[in-house]
């Protein structure tokens, strides 16, 4: 084959070779890779920014939740204190009434002894008026003095009950002040 024949048979699709370069052609996907890649990067950045904002928002919500929890615990403590206060006041009030009941019982026993003594003295007076002086004296000396002794013992209890009732009332007052 001659040189002229070889020159005329070159394929027409081959790009002209740039001076000093290699004979390369651009791949058809090349452009799409560039455009698509850049678009994905932009989308990724947007997603990352939104994600970070969401994380920041979550952090704020957690802080707020922690604050709510602290406030709830404080309110709970106040409720517990109020309930304790109610229980204490009611207990002290009941104690006052119980002590007054005891004092009243003691006072009633004293009154009962007084009534018994009064009866003994009336009987003794009747015996005395009937001329039975020695029997009357014996009744008074025995039953009368015995009842007086018992009454003195009950008076001590009555006094103690009165003191305890006053103490209970003072404690109730203190509970109301405190």
């Amino acid at each position: 084959m001659s040189d002229s024949t070889a020159t005329t048979s070159l394929p027409t699709s081959v790009a002209p070779v740039p001076p000093g370069g290699s004979p390369r052609r651009r791949h058809p996907v090349d452009r799409w890779l560039l455009v698509g890649g850049l678009a994905l990067i932009v989308a990724a950045i947007v997603l990352i920014v939104l994600g970070v904002l969401a994380l920041s928002s979550a952090s704020s919500a957690r802080d707020e939740g922690a604050r709510f929890a602290r406030e709830r615990r404080a309110a709970e403590a106040r409720e517990t204190a109020a309930q304790g206060d109610i229980a204490r006041v009611v207990d002290e009030g009941n104690r006052v009434v119980d002590q007054i009941d005891k004092q009243t019982d003691a006072a009633n026993q004293v009154t009962q002894k007084n009534d018994e003594l009064e009866l003994v003295l009336e009987n003794a007076t009747d015996q005395f008026n009937a001329g039975n002086e020695s029997s009357a004296n014996g009744t008074v000396d025995n039953q009368g003095r015995q009842l007086l002794t018992e009454e003195q013992g009950l008076r001590v209890q009555e006094n103690q009950s009165l003191t305890e009732a006053r103490d209970a009332q003072d404690k109730l007052r203190q509970a109301l002040v405190g």
Partner: protein, 167 residues
Amino acid sequence: MTPGPEPLETKTDRPRLKRRRLVLAIASVVLLGIGIGVMLIGTSSRSNAESDRDDKREQLASQRSATHDAEAEAQERRAKAAEVADAAQTVLSLAAQVYAIDDQVMGANQEAVDSFSNPNPSTFNAASDRSGTLIDQANGLIDQLNAAIDVMNGKIDALGQGGTPAH
């Protein structure tokens, strides 16, 4: 030998993907994956945190209501307990007066017992009369005392029952 037809393109001439663009594409996909991951984690975390916060807010509101009720009730009970204390004060004051009169009654009774065997009955009679008078006084006070105890018992019942706190 007759040479065959030459290939249209040699290996060097075929269109080639640029390596940088390929790397860019792969990196962008990876980055997108990271972005999706960050977005999902962030959204999920925010959703959980907000749900948790809302629960705690509701709990706080409920607790505040309960605390308000308890404090209102405590205040009400304190007022009632103060009424009990005042009623008890009246009872104790009357009881102390009865006790003092009882003291005098006992003195008169002692004198009556001691003077019973005395030939002169005037001392016994005077002591007995004094005792009777004192007992009448004590009975008058005891009536007042019983009325005061009834009032106090009503107050203590009200204290024990409490009431509906005001909102």
